[in-house]
């Protein structure tokens, strides 16, 4: 396996708070990697650093061996990293289909002024919408979908840009168990087709079932990593989640 994404000694402070503090980690190509940690441990900040929404104060981020820190988010997206947001973000007043079409990569000035929705793009969008069960809603405004459907739409739309690495920020947050199953199947299918995933999630069962590798953050630093089964019993990880072992033992 080769390292697809490499984060090296990255630091980001907001005011006096060090949200990410000299963190290093890597994502292997073809893996589903979990990123866990207590609230406020820096997971979402790390996502924002990787995708260019924040600029790091120090450190490097490399994707396919090329540095990506300092690039604007759209450039990073073009390099092949897609993401979803912890709180779903869609173009609310645009239709489901339009939400799928916007991420399609445009190359050159001439395509910029060509037709907005092309047939082959629509075809591909409808295939993906069929996979997530939203094909009947193609002409509805995105805001009219249910919460779970909106998450699925955001996920499906990310795929339209055909990223190699997909960052999912709490894909199961507030979603009903059936939808969670569906999302997991979807991720596993795509992984078999060669997509790499980095997943932030609080639902431990999902993380343990889905991920081949788990990275644990606390206070902006990596405190452990390994296979899910090993991580589950790591005393340092348990301490971070549950407080000191002395208290837990007492």
């Amino acid at each position: 396996m080769t390292r697809m994404l490499q984060v090296e000694n990255i630091t980001k402070s907001f005011g006096g708070i060090r949200a990410v503090d000299g963190c290093s980690m890597a994502v292997e190509r073809g893996s589903i990697t979990g990123l866990i940690g207590p609230n406020g441990s820096g997971k979402t900040t790390l996502f924002n650093l990787i995708t260019g929404f924040h600029q790091p104060d120090a450190g490097q981020i490399r994707f396919d061996d090329r540095p990506i820190h300092g690039l604007v988010p759209s450039r990073i997206c073009h390099r092949g990293i897609g993401r979803t947001f912890q709180i779903t973000r869609l173009f609310w007043k645009m239709t489901v289909l339009e939400n799928m079409i916007v991420p399609v990569r445009q190359v050159g000035w001439r395509t910029l002024f060509s037709r907005g929705v092309k047939e082959h793009e629509e075809q591909r969008a409808l295939e993906l919408l069929a996979l997530v069960g939203l094909v009947d809603y193609r002409d509805e405004e995105a805001r009219k979908l249910s919460f779970g459907q909106q998450k699925l739409l955001e996920f499906a739309a990310v795929l339209m840009a055909d990223p190699d690495l997909i960052l999912l920020d709490e894909p199961a947050g507030g979603v009903n168990p059936v939808m969670i199953e569906k999302t997991m199947e979807f991720v596993e299918d795509l992984n078999r087709q060669g997509k790499t995933f980095l997943v932030v999630e609080h639902n431990m069962r999902l993380v343990m079932d889905l991920c081949q590798h788990v990275i644990v953050l606390d206070h902006g630093q990596k405190i452990g990593e390994g296979e899910p089964a090993v991580i589950q019993n790591d005393p340092i990880v348990l301490e971070a989640y549950l407080g000191s072992t002395n208290h837990a033992g007492a």
């Binding site: 759209s74 997206c77 973000r89 339009e98 990310v158």
Partner: protein
């Protein structure tokens, strides 16, 4: 339900033919003048709408491009003898280049900060025009020769007619470009930026390029209109043409007709401009037209916050939905 509806093409074609015939049928100088001003307002609002409507950035700075277009055309006419009807199309490209540069700076701000920055643009242009006295003639303004072609001045009876047709051509072009943009990848990206700029970035839209380009295009038609305007009145001065009220009017017209729609700004102009002229004509030089505009804006914001066109189509959808089941069951 078999409700009789006129296809959009018939509406547009009919309106176009009516505008084409207007100055031949309506011989009154006054009404011809109002019509030129109305179509010009429609150009300004439609052009503003490409940025303000599609992209969601409220610019109050477009009067700067209107004025710059006017000055460039007047100067080229006076010093180089370039006919405004031809030069305005090319000189507006210069204005567009200026707008691209200013947009590249101004579009780093968002929301109300952007509004303030664009207001500042109008004042900067006005101060420059006032102080470059050697070129612009300062506060005394610039006068152009009376309109004509090939050394022959147009007689007062027909003087509005050439202006009518060139502004009509400009209006058609503006709406056509606005329509093409709305249906293109570019337009889809602009609307995405309006909806959620950060999300648009995340899915790979180079928002800065899109916004700056929208700013430049929307400045172009305003500048062409400014050039024609300066020739229409044959006189401009800095106070008069770099006027924040020109910008505000563009916004009001777009809001009234339907911001972000293709035809809303045109419809808005055909309501506001004649109404304004009638009010000024009836009540004289009072400020009553401003009060009426304020009241109209208030009414629109209260009862149809999206503007006339979107509200009308909403009402139509509601009516057909209400009637739909009754008819199909009966």
């Amino acid at each position: 339900m078999r409700r009789w509806r006129i296809p959009a093409g018939v509406w547009i074609g009919g309106a176009f033919l009516a505008l084409l015939a207007f100055p031949l049928v309506q011989r009154s100088q006054y009404y011809q003048h109002v019509m030129v001003m109305t179509m010009m307002a429609a150009v300004l609002a439609s052009s503003w709408n490409i940025l303000g409507g599609y992209t969601g950035y409220t610019s109050l700075g477009h009067a700067a491009f209107f004025g710059l277009g006017g000055y460039l055309v007047a100067l080229a006419h006076n010093y180089l003898g370039w006919h405004p009807f031809i030069s305005t199309w090319f000189l507006a490209i210069v204005v567009m280049a200026v707008a691209l540069l200013l947009g590249w700076i101004a579009l780093r701000t968002h929301g109300s900060a952007f509004v303030v920055v664009t207001i500042a643009m109008v004042f900067i242009f006005r101060i420059v025009a006032l102080n470059l006295g050697d070129i612009t003639n300062g506060a005394r303004g610039l006068t152009q020769p009376r309109p004509g072609w090939g050394g022959v001045q147009w007689s007062p009876e027909i003087i509005k007619i050439p202006f009518h047709y060139i502004v009509l051509a400009l209006l058609c072009l503006t709406v056509l470009v606005s329509w093409r943009i709305r249906l293109s990848k570019f337009g889809l990206g602009l609307v995405a930026i309006r909806e959620d700029e950060g999300k648009a970035e995340a899915v790979g839209i180079d928002t800065m390029v899109y916004k700056v380009l929208a700013f430049g295009i929307s400045a172009y038609f305003v500048a062409v209109a400014g050039g024609i305007y300066s020739y229409f009145f044959t006189y401009i001065d800095p106070q008069f043409i770099f006027n924040i009220f020109t910008s505000v009017t563009m916004v009001l017209i777009a809001l009234l007709g339907g911001r972000g729609t293709l035809w809303g700004p045109v419809l808005g102009a055909f309501i506001m401009e004649p109404l304004g002229d009638w009010l000024v004509g009836t009540f004289g030089g009072t400020q009553i037209h401003l009060a009426v505009f304020g009241a109209i804006l208030l009414g629109v914001m209260l009862f149809m916050p999206q503007g006339i066109l979107p509200s009308l189509s909403e009402i139509r959808i509601r009516l057909t939905r209400r009637r739909g089941p009754g008819l199909s069951s009966g």
